[in-house]
């Protein structure tokens, strides 16, 4: 199935994978939110990410000329074929951990989608424009929660700080370009992730400061998601997410 569109297909699927896996993780909060209103809000966000994954997968399916459907791409690939960043596959942890991750990702997405909206590829640009509106809202939520928890009680402060500390080793992968992305950047289709780091750092530092939190000082950094080298958590996530399609192939909703 190799063709000259392969770098674009790889790129689109990887972006879809980031959204799919994070959406699946967030959906684990359904019925487990700290209170009813937040339960509804966080599962709303989960749905936004799953919807975003669907748009990317539909586009990939079209680029593959229907060789695989969007559902095939989501439900019939194994861990090694998934290309999501490691940060999105980590277990939800406590609510503070979940919100620290959302802030890291939402802040990144706002910068990233802002650039992708100017892509020379009209489909990707259109997906980005739609996703950006959702992301502005997601970021308002995660921003708000990080402030509340950081500048809240001793317990909440300690938990959100711990969340950032545990996540910090997975942050640098957000800014690493794959070979496909570099090739597509020359055609003005993809986005230069590495160029977003300064803005991201500036905004994050200012928020951490406001939330009375410390910027973590982690010296280890993990990567590998883009090559299909995932954490031990990824297979368990897929087992749950793909169970129905594996047990009843072709089952329709």
């Amino acid at each position: 199935m190799m063709n000259d569109k392969q770098p674009l297909i790889n790129y689109v699927i990887a972006l879809g994978d980031d959204s799919m896996i994070l959406g699946q993780r967030l959906s684990e909060w359904c019925y487990h939110g700290p209170f009813l209103e937040e339960d509804l809000a966080i599962t709303n966000v989960a749905l936004d990410f799953i919807g975003r994954a669907q748009m990317f997968y539909e586009y990939a399916s079209k680029l593959e000329e229907g060789a695989r459907s969007a559902d095939d791409i989501a439900f019939l690939r194994d861990t090694r074929d998934y290309r999501n960043l490691l940060i999105v596959e980590l277990p939800v942890g406590d609510f503070a951990f979940t919100m620290a991750r959302q802030l890291i990702v939402d802040l990144f997405n706002q910068l990233y989608l802002g650039q992708l909206a100017k892509s020379a590829d009209p489909t990707l640009a259109a997906i980005a424009v739609k996703a950006l509106k959702e992301t502005d809202y997601h970021l308002r939520r995660s921003h708000d929660w990080v402030l509340r928890l950081g500048d809240g009680t001793d317990e909440s402060h300690q938990r959100i700080q711990q969340g950032f500390d545990q996540l910090w080793g997975y942050v640098s992968e957000l800014f690493v370009m794959t070979a496909d992305e570099s090739q597509l950047l020359a055609e003005k289709i993809s986005v230069d992730r590495s160029a977003l780091r300064d803005d991201w750092d500036t905004q994050l530092n200012s928020l951490l400061n406001e939330a009375t939190l410390l910027r973590p000082d982690t010296d280890w950094q993990l990567s590998g998601g883009r090559e299909g080298l995932h954490t031990e958590h990824h297979g368990h996530l897929l087992a749950e997410m793909q169970f129905i399609q594996r047990a009843y192939p072709g089952l329709k909703w």
């Binding site: 209170f35 009680t153 909440s156």
Partner: protein, 98 residues
């Protein structure tokens, strides 16, 4: 960081304007820590199917409500004052439209 205690959630009433030109209507209530958060939750709890163009949230404790036992003094006196309704008046014939 001081040793702050978690604040109890407050109750808010939610009003939504479904279309430009229409009034805000009461749709329900929700819990939140403050008005800003209440506004965000109102969006998630009550406008998921694009029901609105504008949302108001009001602290439930700020609402002063009439009491049912006051109904007699509140509403009954209006019943014997039909002249307060426009339909009470007979229009002279020359007035075609009013």
């Amino acid at each position: 960081m001081t040793d702050k205690q978690a604040k109890p959630a407050l109750l808010f009433e939610v009003f939504i304007r479904s279309k430009r030109g229409l009034d805000h209507k009461h749709v329900g209530s929700l819990h939140a820590q403050d008005a800003e958060q209440a506004l965000e939750y109102a969006r998630d709890c009550y406008t998921r199917r694009s029901e609105g163009v504008s949302i108001w949230v009001v602290n439930s404790s700020d609402i002063v409500a009439s009491q049912e036992e006051d109904a007699a003094s509140f509403y009954d006196p209006m019943e014997d004052k039909p002249y307060r309704h426009a339909t009470h008046y007979v229009l002279p014939d020359p007035v075609k439209n009013m």
